[in-house]
């Protein structure tokens, strides 16, 4: 999909300073831009009544992209969370995969339209399917890392979550276990200061989630989420450490939440106008753009062409998702188990969508008796 690239093979001073090429920097910029644009599109579609629910990653994209960047796609694993749009885009999903999930269409790569939007995950990209109870994915990533160690695959597993989720017991149990066994694991906490409406001061007794790392005997690293390359450097070190067999890292990125928690939340009820206005200065996207321009990596021409490509990509993805087919109710009983079981019979109304007996193909005994 990328038709525009940086000067092929070039390595600016900026890129060299973090051990990357200009292509990497432009690649990151493209993902961050796409994540922001697809997120903005989601809100428009929601307000236009096209999709019922949005949960957003705006303000997290720079950190997400940079932190996932040093992991190997289709090899390492990430257990994402509901704000992980940029993480998923970095790891192989495209705008189409995000938007078909918003519309919950049959072709939705993450769940075939079964899950709420935001529950991204697909085996093709080693992105673990996630649920809504927060932080459960912590233990899945630890288990993936355990299997990687036992099977000697060389894989690294990372999970990401908010600072609110980091208070769950599964996080404690997982960090303890990962540290005992020196598993190739990274916990990335994207601390945006709010668990829906509850500010971080009411969630944590310590200033940072990373402060807890010492309790597990592992490094706790804090990075500024608006500093994309700083996030990359910290993540690279954590990935290298995990891959070497030196164990897990707790990486905390201080990010911002630009939007309400979700499309059903009104954040002005608990955040002041001044606070919201000040967030813009900490937004990673314009900051990274300026950094790349100053370094001569991003020219006017390149910036404009990337913007045009991103828009075209998202327009096409929106049309595709809008026109894609809904899942067929006849598939709604599939994949409870790996195989069909005669005992798992459909309801008396069959697959007719609740409109009487039409389309009924299941066990009729109960309904017939009732008639």
């Amino acid at each position: 999909m990328a038709t525009t690239e940086a000067r092929p093979g070039a390595t600016s001073e900026l890129a060299a300073s973090v051990g990357l090429t200009d292509d990497d920097l432009i690649g990151m910029y493209r993902v961050i831009s796409t994540a922001r644009a697809v997120d903005e599109r989601m809100w428009i579609l929601n307000r236009a009544g096209r999709i019922p629910f949005v949960i957003s990653g705006q303000g997290h994209e720079g950190a997400q992209t940079a932190i996932a960047w040093p992991l190997k796609r289709q090899f390492d694993w990430i257990a994402p969370f509901y704000r992980s749009i940029a993480t998923c885009l970095t790891f192989g999903m495209g705008a189409r995969d995000i938007l078909t999930a918003q519309y919950a269409k049959a072709v939705d790569l993450s769940s075939g339209g079964r899950q709420m939007p935001g529950h991204y995950g697909n085996v093709e990209n080693n992105l673990v399917s996630l649920s809504s109870p927060v932080a459960t994915q912590m233990l899945h990533a630890v288990g993936i890392a355990l299997a990687a160690k036992i099977r000697k695959t060389g894989q690294v597993a990372m999970t990401s979550m908010g600072e609110g989720s980091s208070n769950q017991g599964d996080v404690h149990e997982g960090l303890n276990f990962a540290a005992i066994h020196k598993l190739p694991f990274i916990l990335c906490v994207e601390n945006n200061g709010y668990a829906i409406s509850v500010p971080v001061e009411r969630q944590l007794a310590t200033p940072n989630v990373a402060d807890r790392a010492s309790g597990y005997g592992i490094p706790g690293v804090i990075v500024d989420g608006s500093d994309v390359l700083g996030c990359y450097v910290a993540a690279k070190e954590a990935v290298d450490r995990a891959r070497r067999g030196d164990g897990p890292t707790l990486l905390e990125a201080k990010v911002i939440r630009l939007t309400a928690h979700s499309s059903d939340d009104q954040q002005t009820k608990y955040r002041s106008a001044d606070e919201l206005a000040a967030l813009q200065e900490k937004d990673a996207l314009p900051r990274f753009r300026a950094q790349l321009r100053d370094a001569g990596v991003l020219t006017d021409e390149l910036e404009a062409s990337i913007a045009a490509e991103v828009k075209k990509d998202i327009d096409e993805a929106t049309d595709y998702a809008e026109n894609a087919a809904d899942p067929d109710p006849r598939t709604a009983m599939k994949w409870v188990y790996a195989e069909d079981w005669p005992g798992e019979t459909p309801p008396a109304w069959g697959f007719g969508g609740g409109h009487g007996m039409e389309g009924h193909e299941g066990d009729t005994s109960a309904a017939e008796d009732a008639v």
């Binding site: 109870p133 990533a141 299997a147 036992i150 597993a157 997982g174 409870v336 790996a338």
Partner: protein
């Protein structure tokens, strides 16, 4: 054929499966050098080492959650929850995660994981070492629930569970570990999941049970046989997916049905069996669908007089059979 105790059948099957498939690992509390508090994993640590027989911290949610992750990355974990009573901290991982993983990912992910846990009372275990927890998990589509009653079934069903591509909860009645013996053939036979067994053919009353209660039902059937009551005992073996056909065809033959379970009566697993029989075999019934089940108190009390009062036993089942026979 060799005569084995129930726990020997479990232990030897675990070892055989670990030899057969290096993706099989065992993890849980004290499962390593100690070999588990009941010795179900005794010897595995010595044979397979610390990488494949993992002593975990006292963290049940972690035991199940990491098993789910490991299962998604190429292993077949067999997790041990030391007592079924301690499985509740892992409820979220089992119900929100393991059970729903395949459905919510539209078959992209599966969780080939077996969770073993000793359950049941009658061993002076009191409120927190006696629970029957099968109803919680049998309720959840996506989980399979197995409760064997014989060493033969324990070995055959454990093999099927470990080789299954979906999460299986494998509950072992702890009172049977050393008190129940039976023939176990050598070789890798399997007992398929989802198949009940008629363990005592009869004509007048169907008694449906599982686990320890399947034994007590057989004892009760022998007692009432001397009084001229012919009982057919169905041992469910797998609670979910349920072998509805065996249950219904037995009830359609006998016309009477008594469901026996050790768990609290109200909304226990047997309540669903009663409902299915009432709904789908109504025309064949010659009496009410009845139950003999544990009393509705929050746990099995410790003192032996109280415990005896709680526990369903062959006498109590025989009484239930007599009442239904007289109907």
């Amino acid at each position: 054929m060799a005569l084995k105790t129930f726990i020997e059948a479990v232990r030897e099957t675990l070892a055989e499966e670990m030899r057969r498939d290096e993706a099989v690992i065992v993890l849980g509390e004290d499962v390593g050098l100690k070999g588990g508090v009941f010795l179900a994993t005794d010897g595995l640590y010595g044979e397979f080492g610390a990488d494949r027989v993992i002593d975990t911290p006292l963290t049940e949610s972690q035991i199940i959650g990491t098993s789910i992750g490991a299962a998604m990355n190429g292993l077949r974990p067999v997790a041990e929850i030391q007592f079924a009573d301690f499985i509740h901290p892992a409820f979220n991982q089992l119900v929100s995660e393991a059970a729903r993983m395949r459905y919510r990912s539209n078959n992209k992910f599966g969780v080939p994981m077996t969770v073993r846990a000793p359950y049941g009372g009658g061993v002076h275990g009191a409120l927190y070492h006696s629970q029957s927890v099968e109803a919680f998990f049998s309720h959840v589509p996506g989980l399979k629930v197995v409760i064997p009653s014989t060493p033969y079934d324990a070995a055959g069903l454990l093999r099927s569970s470990i080789r299954d591509d979906d999460p299986v909860l494998f509950f072992e009645h702890k009172k049977m570990y050393r008190s129940v013996r039976g023939d176990v053939p050598s070789g890798e036979y399997v007992v398929p999941l989802g198949k009940a067994a008629i363990t005592h053919p009869g004509t007048q009353i169907t008694v449906i049970a599982y686990g320890l209660m399947a034994h007590y039902a057989l004892e009760a059937a022998d007692v009432v046989a001397e009084e001229g009551i012919s009982v057919e005992v169905v041992d469910l073996r797998t609670l979910r997916p349920l072998d509805k056909e065996t249950v219904l065809s037995s009830v359609r033959k006998t016309g009477k049905c008594l469901v026996v379970y050790e768990d609290n009566r109200f909304l226990g697993y047997g309540a669903e069996i009663c409902s299915i029989v009432a709904e789908e075999a109504f025309d064949y019934l010659d009496g009410p669908v009845t139950r003999i089940a544990g009393p509705d108190v929050p746990g099995v009390p410790y003192n032996h007089v109280l415990e005896d009062w709680f526990m369903v036993n062959p006498e109590k089942i025989a009484d239930g059979i007599r009442k239904l026979a007289a109907y």
